[in-house]
């Protein structure tokens, strides 16, 4: 594989491995939005550190970055803080960061995520399903629904906020 010395090569790298990287992140974190953030960080790190890449196995290289970032996230004090906060509210058991890595089943994670989308009120429910589950862009949804792009972007943003909040509560309740 060529080094990332141009935008085209970089875009090609993202296109080729974005689903795999996202799947790995989802499997390791069990959270759609965390997986999205870590996937993004993975590709940004790949761009910044491409000089360290030997050009041999891009898939292994990018997946290594993703898995390391997921482990960093799972060990991060920020995450422990969230867990501790939820513990004090709901009395759940704190998961020790010294425990072995648990992998989630993506199908189940996505089913739960779908259920959370279904729970939202309109128009956020439809928007969340179209965007997060069916993978339609804000532009495509705006065109289909004959709505302004900004309006759809705002709906997506709000749906995301609500889903993030609800999923965290579900996870730690």
């Amino acid at each position: 594989m060529e080094k990332i010395d141009s935008k085209d090569n970089y875009i090609r790298l993202i296109q080729e491995y974005q689903n795999l990287v996202f799947s790995i992140c989802l499997k390791m974190t069990g959270d759609y939005f965390i997986a999205e953030d870590i996937s993004q960080e993975t590709f940004l790190a790949a761009y910044r550190h491409y000089e360290e890449f030997d050009g041999q196995n891009a898939k292994a290289w990018i997946c290594r970055i993703a898995s390391n970032k997921c482990i960093d996230y799972l060990k991060s004090p920020g995450r422990r803080e969230v867990l501790e906060n939820y513990d004090s509210d709901s009395g759940i058991e704190i998961v020790s960061h010294e425990e072995p890595l648990n992998l989630y089943i993506n199908k189940e994670v996505m089913e739960d995520f779908n259920k959370e989308c279904e729970k939202l009120k309109e128009p956020y429910k439809t928007i969340a399903i179209e965007h997060f589950i069916r993978g339609k862009t804000a532009k495509a949804i705006a065109l289909e629904r004959q709505e302004g792009l900004k309006t759809v972007q705002t709906w997506i943003y709000r749906a995301r906020q609500m889903l993030q909040k609800n999923i965290r509560l579900e996870d730690y309740a």
């Binding site: 799947s23 993978g135 804000a138």
Partner: protein, 135 residues
């Protein structure tokens, strides 16, 4: 929790590829490219990522421009040399025509002419008419 070994990573990749392949969020790539632009601007690096086609296009444009400048410079030099040569010829011709325009007379010839003129005036009594007496 330690980082994955090579074998564990391979297992994870195989598992993600076979059983749990999930489509990435639709705007993931767009967000990555936006973040990249933002971070480049923030860090003050003027490293702009451009495609190979764009780079090649820019290089060929630059070469064309350089070639045009070279041609223009060469044309200027040639024109100035030619103009020098031709103007030298023209000045030379002007000198010749200038010399041809005048007839140079000897002192003797001029005095002869004046003498003839004087004689004519005298014969026509022109001096007397305008009040000049011959002394």
């Amino acid at each position: 929790m330690n980082y994955l070994s090579g074998e564990e990573l391979q297992k994870l990749i195989a598992s993600a590829e076979q059983d749990d392949y999930v489509q990435a969020p639709p705007e993931l790539m767009e967000n990555i490219l936006k973040e990249l632009d933002k971070s480049d601007t923030k860090s003050g690096e003027n490293k702009k990522v451009i495609s190979i086609e764009e780079r090649n296009k820019k290089i060929s444009e630059y070469r064309k421009y350089t070639f045009k400048v070279f041609l223009a410079t060469a044309a200027c030099v040639i024109l100035s040399v030619i103009s020098q040569i031709s103007s030298f010829g023209k000045v030379h011709n002007i000198d010749e025509s200038y010399n041809n325009r005048f007839e140079y007379k000897t002192k003797q010839e001029v005095m002869e002419e004046n003498k003839t003129m004087y004689q004519t005036l005298k014969e026509t009594d022109l001096f007397a008419n305008i009040g000049i007496t011959e002394d």
